[in-house]
């Protein structure tokens, strides 16, 4: 009896193993035949992979599929296959790993074109496509354009109009007025500035970068460029004073309690539920349609003031579409990128999904929700200024320094000494920049 079972077990295992090996090779032979079929069909269908961020309900698979299908209709010989990163790798890690494995998608969303461009991972964008942009000279690394910035975000202070009205506050026009408003809000037992310590980029986007920007506008608009070229360091002003202001915000209790344990979603909810009166964030909030982001008060917006006054509003326009240098279908990939800009419907839908502003020669507008409208009102008559830390080319900072700086911000909130942290940041810069 036992013998029979043993035999049965052994033969089942052997068979399954053969089957498994078989299916493995089947997969391979299927792939091979697919490939030969594909090469046969080169005149017929080419496949290009498009890596884009699927973010929740607004920018989900279906949203992008419509764009992919539309392009396919116009170019029946090109099929766009969407690639999403739903693992816990960051976009950067994903791109770098796929680059190493030779699997980098043909068209990718690019947030650090300088880094990838210098490593020859991206294709240079030819002039006829670059000229679709309002400013084709913007974002070049060493004179070459490695990415097509498709949107401009605006970063500034969203505020709760009801709270301001209740506390008899007017929109702050100087740094002093801003501090004053924050103090009054704190006295009213509300959190002046919502932020998230755990998703540390929020500390940057909603704290450090606008502060550096405001300081730069006030004292030295060239600081980002000078820092990039090592002419100035973090010890020098603009950065130092900005970091000290950040420390002051924390020490004055503007961030509320439990900051370091909160994440981005919670930070946003703090604002929309009325617990925090101000939220320094970007226009992408306008693109999200999550129910918990709908405030039940009127939202306002104002640019972060500098000491002397409101000298500009922060913009970030370095996120774009790039083409991989190792793409096997370069022409088709470039064609797709061109499509993403030329097709007004597609371009507008991309902007709208992110609540962003257009970068094309002919400006594109769409109906904005309350956040977008608040922004439009808040920036009227004010000049834009590129947010420090997100430069390309001359103003590009050392890759990886932003993550390091975010950690420093966390340290400062935990009470670390600002000067020591600045020293460490400078050391890290020298290490990263060589």
């Amino acid at each position: 009896m036992k013998k029979k079972w043993t035999l049965l077990l052994a033969s089942t295992m052997l068979l399954s193993m053969l089957a498994a090996c078989g299916s493995g090779t089947n997969e391979q032979s299927k792939e091979n035949s697919q490939e030969t079929e594909d090469t046969k069909k080169t005149e017929e269908t080419m496949e290009i992979k498009w890596f884009r961020q699927e973010v929740g309900s607004t920018r989900n698979k279906e949203f992008y599929k419509k764009i992919e299908d539309k392009f396919h209709e116009l170019h029946p010989n090109i099929k766009v296959v969407g690639v999403a990163n739903s693992s816990n790798l960051t976009v950067s890690e994903f791109l770098k790993t796929s680059l190493a494995s030779g699997d980098m998608p043909d068209v990718v969303t690019m947030q650090s074109a300088d880094e990838f461009g210098k490593a020859n991972a991206l294709l240079e964008i030819p002039d006829h496509i670059a000229n679709l942009l309002a400013d084709p000279e913007f974002g070049r690394t060493g004179g070459k354009l490695y990415t097509m910035p498709y949107k401009t975000d605006v970063i500034g202070v969203f505020y709760n109009k009801k709270v301001f009205a209740d506390l008899d506050l007017s929109v702050p026009k100087t740094w002093a007025e801003f501090t004053d408003a924050a103090n009054k809000i704190k006295e009213a037992k509300l959190t002046p500035l919502s932020t998230s310590g755990k998703d540390s980029w929020v500390l940057g986007m909603g704290g450090l970068w606008p502060l550096v920007g405001a300081e730069a506008l006030n004292n030295n608009t060239d600081y980002p460029k000078q820092r990039a070229s090592d002419e100035l360091t973090f010890q020098d002003d603009v950065f130092k004073s900005a970091l000290n202001k950040f420390k002051d915000w924390n020490q004055n209790g503007y961030f509320g309690k439990g900051v370091l344990g909160m994440n981005y979603q919670q930070a946003t909810e703090q604002f929309t539920s009325g617990k925090a009166a101000m939220y320094i964030m970007g226009s992408w909030i306008a693109g999200s349609d999550l129910p918990n982001l709908k405030p039940d008060f009127e939202v306002g917006f104002f640019p972060l003031p500098s000491d002397k006054g409101v000298l500009g509003y922060m913009t970030k326009g370095t996120e774009g579409w790039s083409v991989s240098a190792t793409s096997e279908h370069k022409e088709e990939a470039l064609e797709f990128v061109k499509f993403l800009f030329e097709d007004k419907e597609v371009y507008t839908s991309l902007l709208q999904a992110e609540g962003a502003f257009s970068t094309t020669k002919e400006p594109v507008t769409y109906e904005m929700n309350e956040y977008g409208q608040a922004i439009m009102q808040g920036i009227e008559g004010i000049q834009p200024y590129p947010l420090p830390g997100f430069g390309l080319g001359e103003t590009a900072w050392a890759p990886g320094i932003d993550s390091y700086l975010f950690k420093i911000l966390q340290n400062i909130i935990a009470g670390a000494d600002v000067n020591k942290e600045i020293e460490a940041a400078d050391q890290e810069w020298s290490r990263l920049a060589n």
């Binding site: 498994a20 494995s101 999200s288």
Partner: protein, 276 residues
């Protein structure tokens, strides 16, 4: 069987209940919130759901191409199980039965693989696969897993093998069996509890793994079920109630597998890894 009567018998039940409570709290949170609406999850996360709604589960299944991805996960897991059981038990047989300088060195070599965090080897492995023409392929993923799981499986099997007496090998040989037959007919069936242990661990690790298939198979073919559910927990939109529903669906198979096979699992470890 040891009965430690100094922990009075009924006290054991109370202590166990308290321990179980601590362990069960996270499960309670996940399960109850998976049946709630988003608003209720935000407002009263710790109460029982007012209406048991399966909406989250339905939403989860609708958003994901369940069948194909499930097939993917099952295919990967089952194939790896078979390969690992075969390869590691055979190798452990050699390592345990033959004791000389070489087998000791080989054993240490196998153990060395446990000493390094696998994440630090991504770039070298990925480049290696690419050089061998195995990038973005299932065979490549399987070979990667073999390298990854081999130390642990060999560790278990060599430990357990000690409890299979060599006399059996010898008597099989006297009966005229070759090495192959000796192993498959006599030794391997006796390894069953250990095999169960290996099945539980390898199945659990492979099923839950999403980073490795994603990196090695690539984003198109590499969608396993856990990856698909992780998509819910995307950086900017955490719908807790949906996420919990997704988590439960992903975790349930492994929990059930353990619950069903636990007796064998424990006896496997008892007779082998521990006694040795």
């Amino acid at each position: 069987m040891v009965r430690l009567t100094w922990i009075r018998n009924y006290a054991s039940e109370w202590i166990m209940a308290a321990i179980a409570l601590f362990f069960a709290i996270p499960a309670y949170i996940a399960v109850t919130n998976s049946f709630k609406t988003a608003k209720e999850t935000a407002d009263s996360p710790y109460s029982l759901p007012s209406n048991f709604s399966f909406d989250n589960y339905i939403g989860v299944f609708q958003t994901i191409d369940m069948w194909n991805i499930f097939k993917n996960s099952v295919l990967i897991t089952v194939t790896i199980l078979l390969i690992m059981i075969l390869l590691s038990s055979m190798a452990a047989y050699t390592l345990q039965r033959i004791t000389n300088k070489w087998t000791s060195v080989v054993y240490l070599l196998f153990m060395a693989g446990m000493m390094i965090p696998p994440q630090t080897l991504y770039i070298p492995i990925v480049k290696l696969l690419k050089a061998m023409g195995l990038a973005q392929s299932f065979p490549g993923l399987f070979l990667f897993y073999i390298g990854l799981y081999m130390p642990f499986c060999i560790f278990l099997y060599t430990g357990f093998m000690k409890s299979v007496p060599r006399e059996l090998d010898e008597s099989a040989k006297i009966d005229g069996c070759g090495a192959f037959a000796t192993f498959w007919r006599i030794v391997f069936p006796l390894l069953q509890p250990c095999t169960v242990t290996v099945i539980i661990f390898v199945a659990m690790w492979t099923w839950n793994d999403f980073v490795n298939p994603f990196i090695i198979l690539g984003s198109q073919k590499g969608e396993t079920i856990t990856l698909a559910f992780y998509g819910f927990i995307s950086q900017y939109n955490t719908s807790w109630n949906h996420a919990f529903a997704g988590m439960i669906v992903t975790s349930l198979p492994a929990i059930v597998l353990f619950a069903v096979m636990q007796k064998q699992f424990i006896s496997g470890i008892a007779s082998g890894a521990v006694k040795g």
